[in-house]
C-alpha cells in the first residue's frame, strides 16, 4: 500500500515536471517565433527605405514614431517619410546584420542591429556601418515600429 502511494506520488511528480517543461518550452518557442517576426520587420523597414516606399513606412510606423539620425537630428513619422520621398536623397544600399532581439514581451520588442548604408542625403555622405536600437510595439494585434536610435561605428 505504501509502495502504491509512493508510485503514485512519483508519477505525479513526473507529470507535473513534464507539464512545466512543456509549458516553458512552448513559451520559449512562442518567444522565438515573435523574435523571428521582429527580425523580419527590421528587414521590411530597411527595404522600404531602400525602395523609397512611403506606403510601407506609413503602414509600419506607429503614430508617435521617433528616430535620432547620426549627427543627432530628431525626426517624427512625417519627417522621416518626407525624407524617404525626397528625390535629393539617395540610398544605394541599406540592410541590417547581426540582428539581436534584446527584449521581447507580448507587446514590446527592442533589438540591436548593425546597419550598413551607402547613400547621400542633402549632400552628406552616409556611407558606413551603424549600431542601431529599434523599438517595436504591438498595437491592435500588429507589430509597429515605434522608433530608432542610430550611431555611426567609428574605426
Amino acid at each position: 500500500m505504501k509502495f502504491a502511494y509512493g508510485s503514485a506520488a512519483y508519477v505525479l511528480v513526473i507529470i507535473a515536471t513534464a507539464a512545466l517543461a512543456l509549458g516553458q518550452s512552448s513559451k520559449k518557442t512562442a518567444e522565438n517565433d515573435e523574435a523571428g517576426t521582429i527580425a523580419v520587420m527590421d528587414h521590411i523597414w530597411l527595404n522600404a527605405a531602400h525602395n523609397r516606399d512611403p506606403g510601407t513606412m506609413e503602414w509600419l510606423f506607429a503614430k508617435d514614431f521617433v528616430e535620432i539620425h547620426p549627427g543627432g537630428e530628431i525626426v517624427d513619422k512625417k519627417e522621416q517619410i518626407d525624407q524617404i520621398r525626397d528625390p535629393s536623397r539617395q540610398i544605394k544600399e541599406i540592410h541590417p546584420d547581426d540582428i539581436d532581439v534584446r527584449y521581447i514581451s507580448s507587446d514590446v520588442a527592442m533589438l540591436l542591429d548593425t546597419t550598413t548604408i551607402r547613400g547621400l542625403s542633402g549632400g552628406v555622405d552616409y556611407n558606413g556601418t551603424y549600431k542601431v536600437i529599434r523599438v517595436f510595439v504591438k498595437e491592435q494585434g500588429r507589430w509597429k515600429a515605434a522608433g530608432a536610435g542610430i550611431a555611426p561605428i567609428k574605426p
Partner: protein, 154 residues
C-alpha cells in the same frame, strides 16, 4: 425600494469613472514620472550609484556610445564600479520628450556631459540621446541608450 435603486445607480455612476481612472494611468502623470526617471538615472551614473543601476536597468540593457561602441548592462556597470571608471562632474538631460507606447517609452533628450576618463581625457560634450524605458512588473527600467554627439557650437 425605488429610492434604494436610485441610490445604488448613483453610487455606480459616481465610482465607475474613478475605477476607470485608476486602471488608466494619466498619461501626463506618467510622462512626468518618466522625465524624473531620466534625471534619476543620470544622477545615479554621475555619482556611481551601482545599486540604483542594478535595480533600475533591465537585464536586456544595452548602451551605444557615439562611436558605435556597445556595452551590455554587466559591461557598463563593471566599468562604473571598476578602478578605471570615468569621473563625471556634470550630467544633465534637458528638453526631454516622452513617446509613450503602453509598456515602453522612448525618451529623447539633450544631455550635457562634463568629465574625464580614468586617463584624464576630456569627455565633455553635448549629445542628443535616444533612451528606451520598459515597464516590467509595474516598474520602469532603463533598457537601451543610443548617444549622438552634436557638433560643437561655433
Amino acid at each position: 425600494m425605488k429610492g434604494f435603486q436610485l441610490t445604488a445607480l448613483a453610487a455606480i455612476l459616481m465610482f465607475a469613472p474613478l475605477a476607470f481612472a485608476q486602471t488608466q494611468p494619466n498619461s501626463s502623470a506618467e510622462e512626468e514620472t518618466l522625465k524624473k526617471f531620466d534625471h534619476n538615472w543620470l544622477d545615479a551614473e554621475k555619482r556611481l550609484d551601482i545599486a540604483y543601476c542594478e535595480k533600475n536597468f533591465a537585464d536586456s540593457y544595452v548602451l551605444v556610445f557615439p562611436n558605435g561602441q556597445v556595452y551590455t548592462k554587466k559591461q557598463w556597470l563593471d566599468i562604473l564600479r571598476g578602478p578605471d571608471h570615468p569621473v563625471i562632474t556634470f550630467l544633465d538631460p534637458e528638453d526631454i520628450k516622452v513617446h509613450l507606447h503602453g509598456n515602453v517609452a522612448i525618451l529623447t533628450d539633450h544631455t550635457t556631459l562634463k568629465g574625464h576618463d580614468s586617463k584624464g581625457n576630456s569627455m565633455d560634450g553635448e549629445f542628443n540621446v535616444f533612451r528606451v524605458v520598459i515597464k516590467k512588473d509595474g516598474n520602469w527600467q532603463a533598457a537601451g541608450v543610443v548617444m549622438n554627439a552634436l557638433a560643437a557650437k561655433k
